[in-house]
Amino acid sequence: MFRHAAKNLLRHRPVPTTSAAGAAAARAPSRTFSADAPAAQTADAGFVEAWKKVVPNIDPPKTPLSFMEPRPATPASIPSKLTVNFVLPYASELSKKEVDMVIVPATTGELGVLPGHVATIAELKPGVMSVHDGNEVTKYFVSSGFAFVHANSFADIIAVEAVPLDRIDASLVQKGLAEFTQKVNSASTDLEKAEAQIGVDVHSALNSALTG
């Protein structure tokens, strides 16, 4: 009669009705599952059930999915702040920072992200990203990357290289701009022309970041 305990437990977990289930509930560690994050439960429920059928007395191992925090749900009304995660391959610049607005340089133009912005994926071009929090504005020059805005007012911005504007050397920028403009004119193959054009784009973006 205890063979069916696990199956009955999972089905009637809140109110164990049969005496077998009741007795087993006192012994079996099914209570620990109720503490698992609710979103993880739905993903692993099949595995947990199958485990329980075979090994009812041992806790199932935690799967990688159960360690992931479920994304916060989309609130019914627009939240007052935007939560920004700004990461680089070697560092996490901003992690869950609550700000008022973020302006990112997308290939389709400057994208201003406010809380409640529609879910968007934007590819970034070399340009200035500014983070507005109250009266403070922090600006970074971003080399390229992506911005993911989620429906629950979370924004993930990833960039390969991002520097605060005061770390940019104006003379090197001018030199680079002149060098690449000259390369664009003298380039022969398509690839060389593309590389030179990228150089011109990046350096003119750096230039307008410093002057603008």
């Binding site: 390229s144 390969v160 770390r167 398509d190 022309k193």
Partner: protein, 68 residues
Amino acid sequence: MSAPMPFWRAAGMTYITYSNICANLVRNCLKEPHKAEALNREKVHFAISTWKDGKAEKPVIRSDLAED
């Protein structure tokens, strides 16, 4: 629906190559202590070995570190 092809893709470059070139250009335009740190951070050292007929051939070492 899709945007027109960017010039670098039309020239045969992939997005990763484009992104890495942009990042390198930005790193080269930094002011001194930050520039040295950034370039140092990106140094790599690895060995590639190709296998042929079940045997490893001599590995090719690619390195940005000073050769000793």
